[in-house]
Symmetry: D2
């Protein structure tokens, strides 16, 4: 066709240099890269959004109250199951009408007649209901790291507001864990770097052992568990103490075979998509990072390709990290289940906070074993944790007598 040349030509054509024209390159076309809405994909929320065609939000939430209760009682044949076949479990009862009214008092959603709630607005209402419900029974709260606790690639700094929340939660007898894809085998100091502000606070506040025992980090989705030692530093919990039988049975050879296949699929996929990438291979993960601009959709394609084509003996998690695509051995559901087993908690007592709950997000698996909060950024995490702490505080004051 010669069309590519045309584009290059076009963009390089010198023009009368009156206004300081500079040589152009093909990269100018990058201005056209605009991502769509794939991060906001969820069959249940989209179903709820669709109901607004024929319902007010109040009517929707009244039905949700009834239908969620029915689904908790009859998950296999419930009305929600028939309407949203991929729907999961609600581990605690949700009061959607109350959550909506609380939200509405601030945002006047019910005053809109023509414009239904957007995805984020509905997500927030679900979050509010979830916070109030989980606050009653919460024993363990887990957080995704990047995009949830701090900005992508950042870490918990000393002045981070989140530190105060985490300590408050731990003091309120709630265990806290960070459940992250990041994994640094044999290097607790690398984990420490990501939460240095938090550990510094533990030290500065001289938190007693029974409090710091309530903090863990699960790394590599489900591969590494760390705790706080007497020096307020991180140390690995020995595998035999916390890993499930199934996980203990994974061999090094199986892991490497899985990662080899994954690496090959990632590279083939990137090549097919004409995406130049750099491979990052770790003990229990392999990923690719684009070396030129691209859009979310291309990474999504790559993640789905691996999800569909990877044949493996072990469970794995192929996910779109937003700026990369990774395949990890195991997944957060296995990690959470192992942690819950280790600490002795059941699904209604656990809440996972994350920012990636679409089909290609590595937080999705957690829906199988506990309640979730879906946030869009650390500011939202901050907001909902404050709401949660308020509930817990109130429960202590007015609730059934409670002795720590």
């Amino acid at each position: 066709m010669g069309k590519t040349e045309d584009w290059l030509d076009l963009l390089q054509t010198p023009e009368p240099d009156m206004f300081g024209a500079r040589a152009r390159s093909a990269s100018d076309a990058a201005v056209l890269r605009r991502k769509g809405h794939l991060k906001e994909q969820d069959s249940f929320i989209q179903f709820v959004q669709g109901m607004h065609q024929t319902h007010t939000t109040l009517e929707v939430m009244q039905k949700m109250d009834r239908w969620i209760a029915e689904h908790r009682a009859e998950p296999r044949t419930s009305r929600l199951r028939r309407m949203v076949p991929t729907i999961g479990s609600f581990f605690v009862p949700l009061k959607m009408v109350e959550a909506f009214q609380e939200y509405d008092d601030f945002f006047a959603l019910s005053r809109r007649q023509y414009v239904p709630p957007n995805f984020a607005e509905l997500r927030h209402i679900f979050n509010i209901a979830q916070v109030h419900a989980s606050a009653q029974s919460l024993k363990l709260i887990t957080f995704d790291a990047d995009g949830t606790l701090y900005a992508d690639g950042a870490h918990i700094e000393h002045d981070n507001e989140m530190i105060r929340h985490i300590v408050s939660l731990m003091r309120s007898n709630v265990h806290v864990a960070i459940v992250t894809a990041a994994g640094y085998p044999g290097a607790p100091e690398r984990f420490e770097q990501r939460v240095e502000g938090l550990l510094a606070a533990f030290r500065q506040l001289q938190l007693p052992k029974h409090i710091t025992d309530r903090f863990h980090i699960m790394g590599g989705e489900c591969n590494y568990l760390l705790r706080v030692n007497a020096e307020k530093r991180l140390e690995f919990v020995p595998d035999e103490e916390w890993k499930s039988l199934v996980m203990k049975a994974w061999t090094e050879a199986q892991c490497q075979r899985l990662l080899d296949s994954a690496e090959r699929l990632l590279l083939e996929g990137a090549h097919r998509l004409r995406l130049p990438v750099q491979v990052i291979r770790k003990e229990r993960a392999v990923g690719v990072v684009p070396t030129s601009t691209t859009i979310y959709e291309v990474l999504e394609e790559l993640a789905i390709t691996v999800q569909n084509q990877l044949q493996a003996d072990l469970p794995f998690c192929a996910f779109n990290g937003g700026n990369d695509v990774f395949v990890d051995v195991g997944n957060k559901s296995l990690g959470l289940e192992a942690l819950m087993g280790y600490l002795g908690f059941s699904p209604p007592e656990v809440l996972h906070v994350g920012d990636r709950f679409s089909d290609t997000g590595n937080d999705s698996a957690t829906r199988d074993c506990c309640s979730i909060l879906w946030v869009a950024n650390p500011e939202e995490t901050d907001f909902f944790i404050k709401l949660l702490l308020g509930d817990i505080r109130q429960k202590k004051t007015y609730g059934p007598t409670y002795i720590e």
Copy 2:
């Protein structure tokens, strides 16, 4: 309910001030304001997107080539009409397959098997096809101002790349007009401020009159027409020279009645939505600007409310400006038609570039009378105008002999 107080309480609750807690206010909830996807609403593009469920993009574009040709021949009963009842006219034939292939050479869209094109990608393909088609017959190109020629609220600075493009277009015998909501009755200098860099270039380049005669500004959607005078300054074209009979018949009293009704509806709507606003009343327009944070959805609701409820003798345009909601007397379609009549051009010779083509955007009306390019920001405008200039240059070189 007392719930509002709860929220305020929660957000103000003092906490151990170890990490410098500061007093919080209700405005913290603002972190939850996230807009959805209303700017990307178009029944035809969404239909094309939906076809990707069962078609590759190439297949979609092959059908588009056939169906657009059929629709041009039989607009009332065409297949596209049956599938997208609100579809408009295609004033020039579009070669969608070629545009797709051109786009695909850069963006490898066809390599994706699981992730269909997003809204912007399809918009870009339509734009490429439109540029190539319009280049053949273009006599007049019109631009929306804010969000299209320059960032919202900015103006054309001296070093603006766009200046070079506009001059190139005018030198290539293409008339250029800015068609904007902004209106400054009796104040050409206010219009000049918005394009000062451009006028400076006209002077610096000592553009001859027959070139500067190719530049106009249509202000207030369709209420004020300006041209360049001998001093390279803007001056109003007298109404009797360019306004249509219908527009000339509008009385001041009718306009004020319309604006009074609009102002009342805007204020009632803002009150209903609990949105504090400031009113801006002009000769031919009235608008409200929120005085606190809000989201796009709320402005959308307000714009639709006025569209639905305003009863008026005159045509009007109620639109969501992104940061405000305005009601203008008349609309861009009337403005463009008057301009086309004044300059003597027909729909296939005209192209309007804008960033607001959804139902509440003030560029939408232009679809009735000419071809359009839908851009998301000035960088995209820049890109497509370069593409257009390349086509025009090539036509001059290789096309039928052409003497200016």
Copy 3:
């Protein structure tokens, strides 16, 4: 391909004649002709049906009560308009909840949890609501003939139950008209044949003139109006007495031109569809009747083809008659409007009963000018007229004093 021969061969292949095999012909394939559900097409009823995904029938009907009232007040911008853009007018208020409960008492629809109402069930509920609403103000009831008053191709026999109903209606001060596609210019006796039992009853009962004056037949959709004369026979009402100005302006040449074009399109269409047909040409109508077995879908295709392609100076009605496809000059809406003008009645006082209200049915046009009852066969007509007569009787007894 030779495939056609294969089929013929196959079907003709002699087999061991043990069980009396007889020669077969291609017509055996006719066993595969099965019509679909095109007769039950209506965007509004289908919308109401779709609501059952997320609503109980009671909830649907509660919304209908509200939304129909809102649509009557604001037809241009109502919620129903936004959801069903092709929705028409409701000339009288409908009480859908009451109608549903009345229906439900018999049919226990509300007891079903998994199987929503089918099309006919919803149609019946609308009919019940319509009967009760129209009974309050009814001055004129009109009936389609074939498929509504009697079986296709039949006529009103002496023992027909419908006779009793028609007389009861007329005695209750309700005008009755048959509005039919059938047209016999200059031949009142042909019309008489279709209703001979009814006229016989008029005579036998010695109905006084002021009663028989309440009976009319509108033939050829809108082309011929007949009344009952002193001998209880039918006679044409002179055109100048009842036709609208527009209809009076139609020339014979225009009609013939329209019918010529229609005939050509019908024949071309039938040829394209490989449907052998016989043409029937009348003064104000032309149609084709298949001369071999076919299915409803093929006739539908032919009717839509003519609707889309016929260019004409006069209004026309191209419709699927079930066993034929006809194009008539004018339509039932014009016929009804003329009749309403002649008798002096307004839309809320008129009710049309028919069996063809889908897009290719010739009863559809009546929706523009009066309320409707959609029946599936004469038995349903009988049922709903009894319901109507009950209401009228009750109104007489308990209602406002009424003197005939």
Copy 4:
């Protein structure tokens, strides 16, 4: 409400008895019972039908050829799986384009531009493709009885055309079985009554043992297997010869517990739906038969209710029989698998012909273990078996040398 009385009153109101009015009863409302389209429900066929919005039938079938081949290769992640999550297996490759063209030669489907194929037309095209594909490898063909081999409640008479087909199939080395819900434990003569014409033909034709060995009846879905003995009469095959280990493990107590629960649910359901019924309890089945008029939808509701609520240790089949609702121990899939194991055939060698393949039909389960033909009545069965016999005959003549 008193509304029921109103209806009864209305229908009983005496009217002037001029035209022989007779007393009416509530049963008059039965005229409103009209069934919908639940028999024609199939997510795949409906998906294919939906594609016609944007595809011609030829385009649809071209894609089907590709997508079915892809789905056979990658059933878990295929494009069809993503678009129709409930899609099953294709045990043989289907040539949909060829089947369509064969159908189209007779029915001119491709000539229709506005009216897409109805459900039955698509079902026929699938059937034609299935017949041609299965003919190549067919070893066993099984038939549902009522509605497929003969009209509901009828049996195979002496002059039945189907007899000739069955014998032809058996002579062509194809095993034939009737797989039916009907079960008569310990009473082979009851089974004989249903196929008396067929057995008479076996005798009259003096079919040799190696031919009559190719005939079986599977009764009670999967509970009774019968064969033809030397006297050309039916006899039970001892359970130990043909039942799977799993089926042999079912205890009488388990069966009775299941049937007790089912009976209770059927009666509760019928009571809820206000449907008067008679219970029919058999050794391995229980059902209810309405004792007054009802519609298909009500039986559907009852069948789904039991499907959703019955908790059982054994597999079961709760189905809408059209005029009754039955719950059988086991299902046709188990019956077919056992028969296939007994005779030594694999899925690509087997074809089941039935008329109930929607979710509440008892033929649906067979999709799991073999190819299927979906017919609407015995006439269609006759048609497709003739087509199949033609293929088999041709294969014998022209195909690879074949010695019986």
